[in-house]
């Protein structure tokens, strides 16, 4: 008992699943890979990690390859070396200003040049044999620091060159430049940048390796996550194509790399080298990374969807060419036989002609010519004969078995084949004719016999009726006459049903299909059966939709189907119950359902019930009227109208379902 109770709820859930899964199921928690915010965050993090990884690996490489100076030389000394180098460059630049003849006032240009930099003062002492006056600059704003550099420049004929040795032979003139750097760097120039880079470099010289390793790991982890997450969506379990996936992959990859790789490289080559460069390079490198990652994700999605190679331009081109070749072959095989043969023959002939062109032996040329002339008609003849046989067998395969192949102009094996084909056709058409004839004769026999049975039956019915009305002496006689009358009436129905079954099952029944409103038919059936149901103690409940539903059927035959089913309900339904008749649209079908509760237990399968002469109460000798042919007739008639009749038995519930395709 308890087990039964347990079973019921599970069944309910199973049935509810189809219609309302969100109600019976708690919303399934999707993995993180399906969440869009997680993906966006992962994407950004991966890009940042990768960018940092690139930079730090580059720095590491630099540190390792630069003779370990960062680790051996103290920071201040390193800075001083860098500053000295830069100051020397500045000094050279200023000196060159003085030498440049194009500049009107070199002193002013020199002032401007020096003023822009983190230089507190600069002094130039030219050797006495030069026409230049000594020059000096002192910043009004910048406080001088303790960094002071002195450089000696010598002119050997083609401009000043810095030399640190005190004795220089062959120099025409010299200049002594003293540069004092500002205490605090306020301008943005090479000094400040060098200082900053060195500060950072020294601060990071050990930790950079750790950063490199961590960011590389992060980037790899993010990459793996994104590869797993790509193509996943919140809405479904299965991978889905996104917007970009529609574009052919090779096109997408080439376009992206061209835009983010090649194009920036062109721009970069034209940019002047200064601190701005780092930002531009950084932005483009990041963009390139993002594009590459996006491409990888797109690829991962395609792989998950399967057949990624199909959505590539290369595949399309190859596939197109392959299809074209296949199409050509198909076209060739589809061509009429004679054309095909002619084409082949023409091809051989062409080859011969080419061969003849190369041949120098006149005997060979004549031989080839004669061969071609003989071969061509022979091939065409073979093709023509084969076509005849093909057409004949095709007609036969299509059911046109009366068609005979003409043997005119045929000889040898071809004639033999044609004759064989003709004999097969003759035999088959004879067999088919025999069968339809025997079917028709069977129905005719049953019909004719039924006529002959009906004549004596009329007398039996009438005279038994007359006996019962006769004012006879014995009461028994009236009773016996009544039995006779009842049974002969039953016999009459049996004969009618027998004839109809025979006609319906052999298809010897004219069916005129026309548009038929099922709503109307059900209303009519309801009107016809209302009283009969009432007198059988049944209530007819009909569910007819407002929407008009039409099918192709023969109204009279379909009514016969309804009539049989409703009649069965009247005969076999349990008194006091309801009989349901409903109409609904299911897909592209109109479905009419009849349901009733059987009076007798239905210890029988639906198939058995449908069989001829099997009745709901298996024993077949109960007092209920009817002979059980009703369902068989109903099914045959439904099938003749291209419909389907199915029976379902569930305990005492009897259900008949009629399906017709909608118009």
């Amino acid at each position: 008992m308890e087990e039964n109770n347990k079973l019921i709820p599970t069944e309910n859930i199973e049935t509810a699943e189809d219609t309302a899964s969100p109600v019976s199921h708690p919303i399934k928690k999707l993995p993180l890979t399906h969440s869009l915010p997680a993906k966006v965050a992962a994407f950004i993090l991966t890009i940042i990690a990768a960018a940092v990884a690139c930079v730090s690996i580059a720095v590491c490489a630099m540190l390792v390859t630069s003779n370990h100076q960062v680790y051996t030389v103290p920071k201040d000394e390193m800075k001083r070396m860098m500053y000295e180098n830069e100051a020397c460059n500045n000094a050279r630049n200023v000196l060159s200003l003085f030498r440049d003849t194009d500049i009107d006032s070199p002193t002013e240009s020199a002032y401007a040049f020096v003023d822009m930099r983190n230089v507190a003062s600069m002094t130039i002492e030219f050797s006495s044999d030069l026409s230049f006056k000594n020059w000096s600059f002192t910043s009004s704003v910048k406080e001088p620091g303790d960094m002071k550099f002195t450089f000696m420049f010598y002119d050997f004929g083609d401009g000043f060159v810095e030399r640190s040795s005190s004795v220089v032979l062959g120099a025409k003139s010299s200049a002594k430049v003293t540069v004092v750097l500002a205490k605090n760097f306020t301008s943005s120039d090479r000094y400040s940048m060098d200082s900053m880079i060195l500060d950072v470099l020294y601060a990071l010289r050990y930790v950079i390796f750790v950063i490199a390793v961590i960011t590389v790991i992060m980037a790899i982890a993010g990459f793996i996550f994104l590869m797993c997450a790509s193509g996943r969506h919140q809405t479904s379990d299965k991978p889905e194509a996104s917007f970009g996936t529609k574009i052919p992959f090779d096109l997408l990859a080439a376009g992206t790399l061209l835009f983010f790789g090649f194009f920036p490289a062109v721009i970069l080559s034209n940019i002047e080298r200064d601190s701005f460069e780092i930002i531009v390079v950084g932005i483009f490198m990041t963009a390139l990374l993002a594009a590459g990652l996006g491409l990888c994700m797109s690829f991962a999605t395609r792989v998950k969807l399967g057949g990624w190679w199909k959505n590539t331009v290369i595949y399309m081109i190859v596939h197109g060419i392959w299809k074209g070749i296949k199409g050509l072959f198909k076209l060739f095989f589809k061509m009429p036989l004679v054309w095909k043969t002619s084409l082949i023959a023409a091809f051989i002939f062409l080859l011969d002609l080419i061969f003849v062109g190369f041949a120098d032996d006149p005997e060979k040329v004549i031989y080839i010519f004669i061969r071609s002339v003989l071969l061509f008609p022979a091939l065409i003849y073979l093709a023509l004969m084969l076509r005849k046989l093909l057409n004949g067998s095709k007609a036969m395969a299509e059911g046109n078995i009366d068609k005979q192949v003409s043997t005119k102009g045929m000889f040898g094996d071809f004639k033999q084949a044609a004759n064989n084909l003709n004999s097969i056709g003759k035999g088959m058409s004879l067999a088919v004719e025999e069968r339809t004839k025997s079917e028709r004769m069977k129905t005719e026999l049953i019909t004719n016999v039924s006529h002959d049975i009906k004549t004596p039956l009329t007398s039996i019915i009438n005279y038994s009726d007359l006996i019962s009305k006769e004012p006879a002496g014995s009461e028994k006689i009236a009773e016996y006459a009544e039995v006779l009358h009842r049974q002969s009436e039953k016999l009459k129905r049996l004969i009618d049903d027998l004839v109809e079954t025979s006609k319906a099952t052999t298809g010897n029944l004219e069916v005129i299909l026309a548009p038929c409103s099922v709503n109307e038919l059900l209303s009519q059936a309801e009107g016809e059966y209302e009283q009969k149901m009432e007198s059988a103690g049944l209530t007819l409940v009909s569910v007819i939709p407002e929407k008009s539903i039409s099918i192709m059927a023969d109204g009279r035959r379909l009514w016969r189907v309804f009539d049989n089913l409703l009649n069965n309900a009247c005969k076999y339904a349990l008194s006091g119950t309801r009989v349901y008749m409903s109409l609904e649209e299911r897909g592209s079908d109109a479905v009419i359902t009849f349901k009733n509760t059987s009076r007798e237990a239905l210890n029988i399968s639906a198939d058995e019930l449908m069989e001829r002469f099997v009745r709901g109460d298996k024993s077949r000798n109960s007092g209920t009227e009817g002979n059980g042919l009703g369902l068989a007739i109903a099914r045959s008639l439904t099938e003749l109208q291209n419909g389907k009749l199915e029976l379902f038995i569930d305990g005492d519930l009897f259900k008949a379902e009629i399906r017709f395709p909608l118009i």
């Binding site: 009906k454 004549t455 039956l457 007398s459 709503n519 209303s523 009519q524 309801e526 009107g527 109204g555």
Partner: protein
């Protein structure tokens, strides 16, 4: 006094029919084949013929065709051939009615009475305006009465309205929805169509001898209802 010719190759059936039809107004002639029937019609004043189809010698259809050449006496075919094609063939060959064997004696009696009345009393009655006549069915709209073969029928108002609508448009098929709209003067709602179908069935029981094989009020299954046009 009406002379009724019963033509059947089974003497038992002739006898049974004579018993059922026994009436002081009827006298009977007998024939057991087609040729005898034709001869009987030639030499007697026959008012109605009950004719079997399958008989030795000349069959019922051929006999009827011969009889139609000399007389327009009503012929009721009484036969075991119950196929639709047979019925259509019989009625098209000039029969006035068709009853299949085994027959319901009461039905045969009613049909005989109906045919006799139409043949002898109504004949070709001059049509009066406001009176619609189809076969033996006569609807008088001024008197609001309906007669079947001369007998008054007691119809309910809605049944009368439906009959008037259908008889006014013989041959036209009306769906239940249309009938509801035109007779009830209301748009159909819910089970109203069922009401129409029930009324039609009651009407059919009143105006038809055998409601399952109606002569006048035909059910066109899946389409609607109509009153057959007069032949």
């Amino acid at each position: 006094m009406y002379n009724i010719l019963i033509c059947d190759d089974e003497q038992d059936i002739i006898n049974a029919l004579k018993i059922y039809l026994s009436n002081p107004e009827y006298s009977f002639l007998e024939a057991t084949n087609g040729r005898a029937a034709v001869e009987a019609v030639e030499s007697n004043d026959v008012h109605l013929i009950l004719m079997d189809i399958m008989m030795p010698g000349m069959d019922g259809i051929s006999a009827m065709v011969k009889i139609r050449e000399i007389s327009n006496v009503p012929v009721i075919l009484l036969t075991a051939k119950s196929e639709d094609a047979d019925k259509i063939m019989g009625l098209n060959s000039g029969a006035d009615d068709y009853v299949t064997k085994p027959f319901n004696p009461n039905e045969v009696v009613a049909r005989v009475r109906s045919q006799l009345r139409r043949y002898t009393q109504l004949g070709s009655g001059t049509p009066v305006s406001q009176v619609i006549t189809i076969g033996g069915l006569e609807l008088n709209d001024t008197e609001k009465t309906v007669r079947l073969d001369g007998d008054d029928l007691a119809l309910r108002p809605k049944e009368y309205d439906i009959l008037k609508l259908l008889m006014g448009n013989p041959g036209k098929v009306f769906s239940t929805k249309e009938i509801y709209r035109l007779v009830w003067k209301d748009s159909p709602a819910g089970s109203s169509e069922n009401t129409v179908a029930v009324h039609i069935r009651h009407l059919r029981e009143k105006i038809e001898i055998n409601p399952n094989e109606p002569r006048y009020l035909k059910v066109i299954w899946g389409q609607g209802y109509k009153i057959e046009k007069d032949k």
